[in-house]
């Protein structure tokens, strides 16, 4: 297994489970399951035990390994130099399990669906661009930006609404962009994090080939997970682009008044998506957008920025739901944290987070007092 030579270096001290000020445990799987085995230190020690044949590959071991949300809280807070590779180590362990063919059924199904249908929803490719019906969005034909929407924005009803909101704003601001529509291919971020390296490489090479053919140089992503794949996983395979999350494109448009904003009165808190924040270091653009909205009262959750608590959807859990269910499901904890601020709106910048938190909202029965809105939806309301 890759990283095998450093797996024994974990002291299981537990810094990785916390926020930086130790307010609370911030590892979503540990918060849900509460056994040490579901913490980063637990995973490190169990992976080593598995490699040393001290434990077997069981259903529980798979749950422990595949429930990790790859949120990178552990990477942020581990005190050791190898800490930067913690998520990579867990992904490498998954890869080993995938290669051996013994993985949880939901993971198998997800990978199978991507392999067969090109998306996790088992929908035809022809449906991919339907979200844009009725909008002024054009196919990509050499415009400045490719707007890459991804699986969730293309097929999930909640994701589609966000994709339309973003594209409408880009159109309104006269940004030169186009979409791939039915030609779009899964970016593979979750395939990679779930350990299917071969399938990821195939998807990445397909995308790189398509982008090359179309002359793509700049990409706007709807989903921070796609941003992560394009920025981090594609360059070693020859795919190097200028990649932006849509918030990074909208911010200068708002600041330059290309997107003029009117008053929108609401008390709003912001949930940092792990793949935008901790994985890619973008904490400020979404906040600056919210601060720019007249009448909007911004309030932070205690656990924000590099200490943000994950919604539980990362690392493939959005699709596999291994981490879902129960009072301490991460999306429910996060909604409770948002509710404690007194906010009436939780702003998100990721279609996966939006869906996860809306599910959490329903489970907590807080729909009357709290609403989950994407940044683009808030701007749309403010520019109406």
């Amino acid at each position: 297994m890759q990283y095998e030579e450093i797996i024994h270096r974990c002291f299981r001290c537990g810094y990785c489970k916390f926020t930086s000020d130790y307010t609370d445990f911030n590892c979503p799987t540990y918060r849900k399951f509460r056994f040490e085995t579901y913490s980063p230190g637990g995973r490190m020690w169990l992976i080593r035990a598995w490699l040393n044949n001290e434990i077997e590959n069981s259903e529980r071991f798979q749950e422990i390994i595949f429930s990790c949300a790859t949120c990178a809280n552990c990477v942020e807070h581990c005190v050791f130099t190898f800490g930067e590779d913690l998520v990579n180590i867990f992904m490498a362990a998954r890869e080993d399990l995938v290669n051996k063919g013994i993985i949880p059924p939901p993971v198998r199904d997800y990978l199978k669906n991507i392999n067969i249908s090109g998306n996790p929803y088992k929908e035809p490719a022809g449906e991919r661009g339907k979200w844009a019906d009725g909008t002024a969005v054009n196919p990509y034909e050499g415009q400045e930006y490719l707007f890459y929407v991804g699986d969730v924005g293309s097929y999930d009803e909640r994701g589609k609404r966000i994709a339309r909101a973003v594209s409408n704003l880009l159109t309104k601001a006269q940004v030169s962009f186009g979409i791939l529509g039915e030609k779009e291919i899964c970016d593979g971020n979750e395939v990679k994090t779930l350990g299917e390296a071969g399938l990821f490489q195939f998807l990445a090479e397909e995308n790189i080939s398509l982008f090359k053919e179309l002359g793509v140089k700049k990409i706007i992503t709807l989903d921070p997970h796609a941003l992560n794949a394009f920025r981090k996983f594609y360059p070693p395979l020859g795919g190097t682009y200028e990649v932006f999350h849509y918030s990074q494109v909208l911010l200068p448009l708002i600041q330059s008044h290309a997107l003029p904003l009117r008053e929108y009165r609401a008390r709003v808190t912001y949930h940092d998506p792990c793949y935008l924040g901790r994985h890619n270091g973008e904490y400020e653009a979404p906040r600056k957008i919210l601060h720019a909205v007249p009448g909007l009262e911004f309030v932070e959750m205690d656990q924000h920025g590099e200490n943000a608590f994950c919604c539980g959807g990362g690392g493939g859990n959005f699709f596999t739901d291994i981490l879902g269910g129960g009072d301490d499901a991460p999306n429910r904890i996060r909604i409770r944290q948002a509710h404690e601020t007194g906010a009436s709106v939780v702003a998100v910048a990721c279609p996966q987070c939006a869906k996860m938190l809306e599910d959490g909202l329903k489970a907590e029965e807080l729909e009357q007092s709290l609403e989950v809105l994407d940044l683009a939806e808030i701007i749309t309301k403010a520019s109406a």
Partner: protein
């Protein structure tokens, strides 16, 4: 086995009971060098009521029970030597009360050091507790159970001295309150003016019962805090240097350390002291008092103040110090262990000599660290060795070095801190027989079925 798991599930909920190999593997060992031993069950209760029910079941079925906080003792105190039930306390993590005027906090038995620190900083910024340099996941209750030390130990004593009340479940399964809380709604004293019963549980490593609620004393948090380091190459003078600093009564915390790396530290002894104040004047007054106390050593050219690089100061002022855990990666191997006997301050030179001798003989990376306790009535001297978990030979050499430390501690009249079972056995062999008889009487009464953390504090 299955029936017991079902009964446990009825108490704490199915999702908080495990008999799985994964939990049995992990909870069967700690980050130190002790031999592993798997539990049969791991449970994570949420309330005192659940703990009591677990104990009643365990008594009925004669199953061992091992309480666990973060499992960070390094000396195997939460390893279930005879199997049974490991009770992971960390779901009982509420901070129930902070009495600002009475300066105490009431927390549940699984509350972490880090959580209380963060809570006080946010809600009671004028108060602090004696936080150890263990990782912040360490629980407050487990720390006092092992007579842990913290940042305020120099001023006020062991963290166990700073307890202001306890709720315990005894080995017999009785819920019992210790201290003022036994007859008052307030948690301000663990004993006085009545008989102090806290000793029935503190220092027992869970062998008499489990702490489910804990009152801990809080102390003023001053606005300013600083650290200075006095360096000498005369290890023999360190005790009197520390003595002079303690005589000023100006220091918050006093530590001494010696280690061979980096090169600038080699063959030197570093006495670091922390000072606090609400104003610059207060801080400077304390600083000058200590400078004055150490001035003779500067004049005799036996020592001087070390200029602390700006990068180093935040590291030294951090609580807990992350750098303490980093010792585990010195050998890029995820391990360190220390024997930290409680000894008289005057034993410092002998201890450092022994440490260097063992490190040389066993070819080990080492660090020696002293924490002054209660104004210098004693110190904890940590014989710390880093090891590589993937190097069996190095682990074996480290074990042998620590075994020699165990023998050495008795030679110099010290006491084992958080002793391994082997050190407990040595202590029992060497202590006044009537003291052991008294301990046996306590154990027999509080834990009649001998289910509590068996192997610890027993002759076998």
């Amino acid at each position: 086995m299955k029936d017991i798991a079902q009964l446990l599930a009825e108490i704490v909920g199915q999702e908080y009971v495990s008999t799985a190999p994964e939990e049995r593997y992990f909870y069967g060992r700690d980050p130190g060098l002790m031999e592993p031993h798997a539990p049969d069950y791991v449970v994570i209760p949420k309330s005192t009521d659940e703990v009591q029910k677990i104990f009643r079941l365990a008594n009925r079925e004669k199953i061992p029970v091992v309480p666990m906080g973060a499992g960070l003792s390094l000396t195997g105190l939460a390893i279930p030597l005879k199997g049974g039930i490991v009770v992971d306390m960390k779901r009982m993590s509420r901070i129930l009360e902070v009495n600002e005027m009475g300066r105490y906090a009431l927390v549940e038995g699984g509350t972490s050091q880090g959580a209380l620190k963060a809570y006080l900083e946010k809600h009671h910024p004028r108060l602090r507790h004696s936080i150890p340099d263990a990782p912040p996941t360490a629980t407050i209750a487990a720390n006092v159970t092992i007579h842990g030390q913290g940042r305020l130990t120099q001023q006020y004593g062991f963290n166990s001295d700073l307890v202001s009340g306890m709720e315990v479940v005894t080995g017999a399964g009785e819920i019992c309150r210790i201290g003022s809380c036994a007859l008052s709604p307030d948690w301000f004293s663990k004993g006085a003016p009545f008989p102090d019963l806290s000793g029935l549980f503190l220092g027992w490593f869970g062998a008499t019962g489990i702490i489910t609620k804990l009152g801990v004393k809080l102390y003023p948090r001053k606005k300013l805090r600083d650290v200075e380091i006095f360096v000498t190459d005369r290890g023999d003078l360190v005790p009197e240097m520390v003595y002079e600093i303690t005589h000023t009564e100006m220091a918050e915390d006093i530590l001494a350390f010696t280690q061979p790396k980096p090169m600038m530290f080699k063959d030197n002894h570093h006495v670091s002291f922390y000072i606090t104040g609400d104003t610059d004047e207060e801080l400077e007054f304390k600083r000058k008092m200590i400078w004055h106390a150490l001035d003779p050593y500067i004049k005799s050219k036996d020592g001087g103040f070390m200029g602390i690089p700006p990068m180093m100061k935040p590291v030294l002022l951090e609580s807990p110090q992350r750098s303490a855990s980093k010792l585990a990666d010195v050998k890029r191997g995820g391990g360190f262990e220390y024997s930290g006997p409680i000894v008289m301050l005057e034993k410092y030179p002998e201890c450092t000599q022994k440490l260097e001798e063992l490190a040389t003989r066993y070819d080990l990376a080492y660090s020696g660290m002293v924490r002054v306790i209660d104004g210098g009535h004693s110190v904890m001297f940590a014989f710390a060795f880093a090891f590589n978990r993937a190097d069996d030979d190095m682990m074996d050499r480290t074990r042998k070095a620590l075994e020699e430390v165990s023998a050495f501690v008795l030679e110099i009249g010290g006491l084992y801190w958080k002793p391994t079972v082997e050190e407990q056995r040595l202590a029992i062999q060497h202590m006044d027989p009537n003291t052991w008889k008294l301990m046996e009487m306590i154990k027999a009464n509080l834990d009649p079925n001998r289910i509590m953390n068996p192997g610890n504090w027993e002759v076998y």
